[in-house]
């Protein structure tokens, strides 16, 4: 039987901290490599933080759901939110040809996620963004 985890938050940085603690507690003791755990945590942190910062046009906090499933050879991560349409796969990687002295500070979060997960899918359904990722063990 795969082990699963689900939690929904009303998006704020305080709620994100609560989510991170719960994810960390779920992953601890599962004999996963530090890199695997880190990739899961980076994906949740960056996608949720992005939704909290940019997800809504109004002042309302977006609702963010995280579902994790630990399977024999991979972890599946599903993140859903009710923010504006956003396909993370469309975010370009940073231009590494630009010297560090002139590099822009931001824009690194989503490319980090895209580089650290093995697969990522996206769909928009019923006003929600649904991102499905797979990270190999």
């Amino acid at each position: 039987m795969p082990e699963t985890f689900s939690l929904a938050i009303q998006g704020s940085l305080a709620e994100l901290a609560r989510l991170n603690s719960a994810v960390d507690a779920f992953l601890t003791g599962k004999k996963l490599s530090p890199d695997t755990v880190h990739a899961v945590e980076v994906a949740i942190e960056e996608l949720a933080a992005n939704t909290i910062a940019w997800g809504r046009d109004d002042q309302a906090a977006p609702r963010i759901e995280v579902h994790l499933t630990v399977e024999p050879s991979r972890i599946r991560v599903v993140i859903e939110d009710d923010g504006r349409e956003f396909d993370p796969r469309a975010v370009p990687p940073p231009d590494l040809r630009v010297p560090l002295q002139r590099r822009r500070e931001g824009g690194l979060g989503i490319p980090l996620v895209l580089a650290m997960v093995d697969q990522i899918g996206y769909r928009r359904a019923e006003g929600r963004n649904i991102m499905e990722m797979s990270i190999g063990l």
């Binding site: 940085l13 305080a14 994100l16 901290a17 991170n20 530090p34 890199d35 880190h38 945590e41 980076v42 942190e45 960056e46 933080a49 940073p94 590494l96 560090l100 002295q101 590099r103 822009r104 500070e105 931001g106 690194l108 979060g109 490319p111 980090l112 580089a115 650290m116």
Partner: protein
């Protein structure tokens, strides 16, 4: 975070724990002010750090650009943290150890 300025003029800043978006939002104002005031080289010591978010990478880019000519470097990063800097194209900041 306890910034210290040793005699050689390098601003050394040790970090602890999880440098996620929420934590970076807490420390950003003070950290940017100290970096902007620093007159020489800047070193971030990540010996006690187990997670960095893109918010922290932004602060590293800021520090690198402010320390122009004098040097900015990251020391004591774990292999997992080093990987994040490499993916982000910021591995030039890592001190060779």
């Amino acid at each position: 975070m306890t910034p210290a300025c040793p005699l050689n003029g390098t601003l050394e800043i040790p970090f602890q724990g999880r440098l996620d978006t929420a934590r970076c939002a807490e420390i950003e104002g003070d950290l940017r002010a100290r970096i902007a005031e620093a007159g020489g080289a800047i070193t971030f010591d990540l010996a006690g750090v187990d997670f960095v978010s893109s918010s922290f990478l932004r602060l590293c880019v800021f520090a690198y650009q402010k320390a122009r000519g004098d040097g900015f470097q990251i020391v004591n990063a774990s292999p997992t943290i080093k990987k994040v800097f490499k993916i982000a194209g910021l591995d030039k900041m890592l001190k060779e150890e």
